[in-house]
């Protein structure tokens, strides 16, 4: 095992992923190296099919790489069992998806509680919802919330367990510009206030401005890395 700099949260070494679709092999990921630092906000840009979601899924323990290695801190996740990966997600990772995937039979607070019930050191659900500005929506069911509000509940649900890494796959994909900005502002704020390492996938290049690091992907490879010394204000994003 290689030594890790103290502020490294996730480290990927030469990750590759090959799908077999019938007779054809699809290289979704080719030899990707990536390091996520503590408190960093990473924006992954790329067209659809560029491999960014595959990378995020592997980082989050939803999928496994065909080759290459993945480390969470000092712990190697390569070849981990389903049980180990479930525990990894349960304790360390928060997910936000394009479709909010809330449980429709539970209220906002209960959707958050669903996660805090099984986490080791969670924040109270109400606090997580306050962080995303939904203190007045605690007892609303998903059907009573707008799309932006639903996505903010999803973010609250993801951060309530105080994850080490927050992974967001097109979090604004299903939202209009104004609502999308509001959601991004929440992610930015959570990252700054809680210091949660955050990775956001998007095909909207303008969003890149809010990240500490911007990575562009194409055909399963990282084509560009930009360190952003001065993170832009979410309000100034041109949608």
């Amino acid at each position: 095992m290689s030594a890790q700099p103290p502020d490294t949260v996730l480290r990927a070494e030469k990750l590759s992923k090959t799908y077999r679709m019938g007779e054809v092999s699809v290289h979704a990921l080719r030899d990707v190296d990536l390091t996520l630092h503590r408190g960093e906000l990473l924006v992954l840009l790329g067209a659809s099919g560029s491999g960014k979601s595959t990378l995020l899924n592997i980082l989050g323990g939803l999928d496994t790489a065909s080759s290459g290695r993945l480390f969470y801190g000092d712990q190697e996740l390569t070849g981990a069992s389903d049980h180990a990966l479930t525990n990894y997600r349960r304790l360390h990772i928060g997910f936000v998806f394009q479709f909010y995937n809330l449980v429709s039979s539970l209220t906002a607070r209960e959707n958050v509680a669903l996660v805090t019930d099984i986490a080791s050191n969670p924040m109270p659900p109400a606090e997580a919802l306050a962080l995303v500005g939904l203190s007045d929506r605690l007892h609303h069911f998903p059907s009573q919330l707008s799309g932006g509000e639903q996505q903010r509940v999803a973010i609250a649900r993801a951060i309530a367990k105080r994850p080490d890494v927050l992974l967001c796959d097109e979090p604004t994909g299903a939202l209009d510009a104004a609502t999308g900005k509001r959601v991004l502002a929440v992610l930015d704020q959570v990252n700054q206030e809680t210091g949660t390492t955050t990775a956001i996938i998007t095909h909207n290049a303008a969003i890149g401005g809010m990240g500490d690091t911007i990575i562009r992907m194409s055909s399963g490879e990282i084509t560009e890395r930009i360190s952003n010394r001065a993170r832009g204000n979410v309000e100034q994003i041109e949608w």
């Binding site: 939803l62 479930t86 099984i118």
Partner: protein
């Protein structure tokens, strides 16, 4: 339909094979019960009718002590009588060297010329006896099989005190002895009871019955009033020791066969109706939900320009495929099972040409009902989906509307974990669907309750009859009533520790316009070997005077305790008297009237006559006692409740495995049909939700618990519901199976409750395991990233 849609249908049927198969099996069960039970009933009825017609089965019987042949023409002139015939019929002892207990036979005369006008026999093996021969005899087929007797063999009988060596020339069956029970017995005993047919000349000589008969029977004209004929015959025959004329419906063999057929008609209609309704209900439920999950696809097809009718046909095909498979499985299984079912009857009843007949109208109507049920279930769901504008149907469905249910508003819900709330709210959101699913599972619990209850009831009845009521070790029946002085001799027989007299006296009970011919049983006032048990379970004391009667007899005669009956004895001097009803007992076998022996003597004007005795015997001496009794010329029969119980237990043990096997199979098919399909559909409806939980770090087990918790709750609700349903249906079975010979006690053992619940829980758990495996193979990413 379009080729591509065909392709879609084929592929998806294959994908959904588990669900399709479980639906098909439910349909198959419904079809199978129809074809087996209703088809079996129809086969039995048609065989019975053919048999009765072929043998010219009589409409009215009468037994007398002795009447001259010259009376017969007079009887045949009674208005309503079309044909009259007579014969000699008497009991005699058989000398069977290999069994210790006495064996008896009913000897029945065959006419001097030709065949009997009425109540003919059907030769099975060998030939008809020579009219001139005095030692040629036909024996009934069941007795021949049980005793391994063949034409050409000899058999020894003690006829009227004289030993006779008889030559068996053949075997025969008769509609009068389809079910051959020795007199006074509750079950056939083919080892020790036979029917022997002999030429009339030989029997006339044996019993001094020259030019006389003791049985006559009649065919009536189509417009005859049976009760009027019976009454006229009674009047004409009373001077000749009339024991009471009776119509066909009281003829012992017909009574049992008809009772069996009636039960068959009730069960053969009720059970298939229950199964078919469950099948139709499940088809409706399952197909409806299945198609609802295809909402998006229906929208896409509509967007492409498919017409509602084309889409409707496409989804209807799912239903039809499942039902067609069910009809095929059920049809083949039903015919095979029907043959086995009829085979069972062939074992117990001697009916020629009894074969399972495939009834195509029956199969077609059962199939049609299933098809209609499936079509209605499928169509309502398709119509609902097709009504949506395509664009709307293609958008992800808005989050379903939920609210806190009544349970939570009580504040109780605050303490529940979020996962339990999900289960509860899902159920509270669709209470009807939950209730319907629970009802479906409840039916499988109910089917098990009814099935096991039948065994409970019969076992209870047998134990009550042979251990509580009949406490004797041996019951003896005499050919002719004996003076009670014989009791001293009985006390002296080897091993006898107690002997009680018993008298069975034929009598006509009359209450206003209602009347009934039965045998009054006279018991010793201090009888310990025969107890009467009241409905409370306590002993019903025998009053010094007055009758204690079966509840059914009281109902038939419209009498209550304290009422006074006109009693006319049908033997001896045929005394008449008025007797008060002193008690009513809820017994389950036969229709009985009990009386103090002394009071019966007074009533009949015949002092100290007994027709049998009850004995307590030390068990090590029983064989010696039997051998002694076998030599006693006046002893017609010896019966032991222990033996009856034992042979009954044996028969029951054989049948129980098969019946329980079918019950468990049928109930499981229904439970699996509801639970497995419910869970599979819930999985497709809520896949995203469950995948989200997995992504959040819920383990498979935790997610499975959420999905299956709902099914567990449905099963949990179903169990008490099924118990209630089963208990109610069991009561209907008790009512439906109530006959003069036999009533089923309404008794359900604890085991029945637990077994019925356990079997359904196991079936539900099996379904859960199957769905759990599917859940484990869930592709998290694809579920989350694709829209519904």
């Amino acid at each position: 339909m379009v080729a591509a849609l065909h392709q879609k249908l084929r592929r998806e049927l294959w994908q959904l094979k588990g669900q399709m198969l479980s639906i098909a099996l439910v349909v198959a069960t419904g079809i199978m019960t129809v074809i087996t039970m209703r088809g079996g009933y129809e086969s039995l009825v048609s065989a019975q009718q053919d048999y009765y017609q072929q043998t010219r089965f009589a409409d009215v019987w009468v037994a007398v002590r002795r009447a001259p042949e010259s009376l017969l023409p007079q009887l045949s002139r009674v208005p309503g009588i079309a044909l009259a015939d007579s014969r000699i019929s008497r009991m005699a002892t058989l000398d069977l060297p290999d069994i210790d207990a006495p064996a008896i036979a009913r000897f029945v005369s065959l006419p001097v010329q030709g065949r009997p006008l009425l109540n003919d026999i059907v030769i099975q093996r060998g030939r008809y006896p020579d009219h001139a021969a005095i030692d040629e005899v036909l024996i009934n087929e069941k007795f021949a099989v049980a005793r391994q007797l063949r034409p050409g063999d000899n058999i020894r009988a003690i006829i009227n005190g004289r030993a006779r060596e008889l030559n068996i020339v053949g075997t025969a069956i008769s509609p009068e002895h389809v079910y051959a029970m020795p007199p006074g017995a509750l079950m056939p005993d083919d080892q020790r009871y036979g029917i022997l047919w002999m030429g009339k000349t030989a029997l006339e000589a044996a019993w001094d019955m020259d030019g006389a008969f003791n049985e006559a029977f009649f065919k009536l004209t189509p417009d005859a009033d049976v009760l009027e004929v019976v009454s006229t015959l009674n009047g004409l025959l009373d001077p000749f020791g009339n024991q009471g004329a009776y119509p066909r419906r009281d003829q012992p063999s017909h009574l049992i066969l008809q009772g069996e057929l009636d039960q068959n008609r009730v069960m053969g209609t009720a059970i298939p109706a229950i199964f078919l309704s469950i099948a139709v209900f499940l088809l409706h439920l399952v197909l409806g939900r299945l198609i609802t999950t295809q909402r998006g696809e229906i929208a896409v097809l509509k967007a492409f320009g498919y017409r509602n009718s084309e889409i409707g046909t496409h989804y209807l095909m799912f239903a039809l495929a499942a039902v067609a498979a069910g009809i095929a499985i059920g049809g083949l299984g039903g015919v095979a099972l029907g043959q086995a079912y009829i085979g069972l009857y062939q074992q117990y009843f001697d009916i020629p040409e009894l074969h399972y007949q495939i009834s195509w109208p029956l199969i077609l109507s059962a199939a049609l009902i299933s098809l209609l049920g499936a079509a209605s279930g499928a169509m309502s769901a398709v119509l609902k989906a097709a009504r949506l504008p395509p664009a709307e149907a293609m958008r992800p469905e808005a989050p379903a509307t939920y609210r806190a249910g009544p349970l939570e508003r009580t504040g109780l819900g605050d303490r529940l974990p979020a996962s339990a709330r999900m289960v509860l709210r899902n159920i509270e959101r669709k209470p009807w669907q939950t209730l319907l699913s629970s009802t479906g599972v409840a039916f499988s619990v109910a089917i098990l309750v009814i099935g096991f209850f039948m065994f409970d009831g019969i076992r209870y009845l047998m134990t009550l009859q042979f251990q509580e009521i009949q406490r004797e070790d041996v019951a003896i029946t005499f050919y002719e009533p004996q003076s009670d002085g014989i009791m001293h001799e009985l006390w002296r027989l080897p091993g006898v520790t107690r002997a009680e007299p018993l008298r069975s006296a034929p009598a006509r009970l009359v209450h206003s316009h209602l009347q009934r011919d039965i045998s009054i049983t006279g018991l010793a006032p201090d009888s310990q070997l025969r107890r009467l048990i009241a409905s409370s379970g306590l002993d019903q004391p025998l009053p010094p005077e007055g009758l204690v009667v079966s509840r059914l007899l009281a109902e038939r005669l419209g009498i209550a305790v304290g009422d006074v009956l006109d009693v006319r004895m049908l033997e001896g001097q045929r005394h008449r008297g008025r007797v008060v009803v002193g008690g009513i007992v809820d017994d389950f076998m036969g229709i009985n009237a009990y009386m103090n022996l002394t009071a019966l003597d007074t009533l009949s004007g015949q002092q100290q006559l007994i027709s049998g005795a009850l004995l307590s015997v030390s068990s090590d001496q029983r064989t010696i006692l039997y051998r002694t009794l076998k030599q006693a010329p006046m002893v017609a029969g010896v019966a032991s409740p222990d033996d009856s119980l034992q042979s009954f237990e044996q028969e029951m043990a054989q049948g129980i495995f098969v019946s329980v096997g079918f019950l468990v199979g049928f109930a499981s098919v229904i439970a699996v049909g509801v639970i497995y399909n419910g869970a599979r559909i819930a999985l497709s409806e809520r896949g995203r939700e469950l995948a989200s939980l997995r992504v959040m770090g819920f383990h498979r087990r935790e997610v499975a618990l959420l999905l299956l918790g709902e099914q567990a709750l449905i099963t949990l609700i179903a169990i008490p519901l099924g118990w209630l349903l089963g208990y109610t249906l069991a009561w209907a079975v008790v009512q439906g199976m109530q006959t003069d010979l036999f009533r089923l006690p309404y008794v359900v053992n604890y085991d029945t409750w637990w077994y019925s619940a356990a079997i359904v829980v196991i079936a539900a758990a099996g379904s859960a395991v199957a769905v759990r495996r599917r859940l484990d193979r869930f592709d998290l990413i694809s579920v989350l990233k694709t829209r519904e």
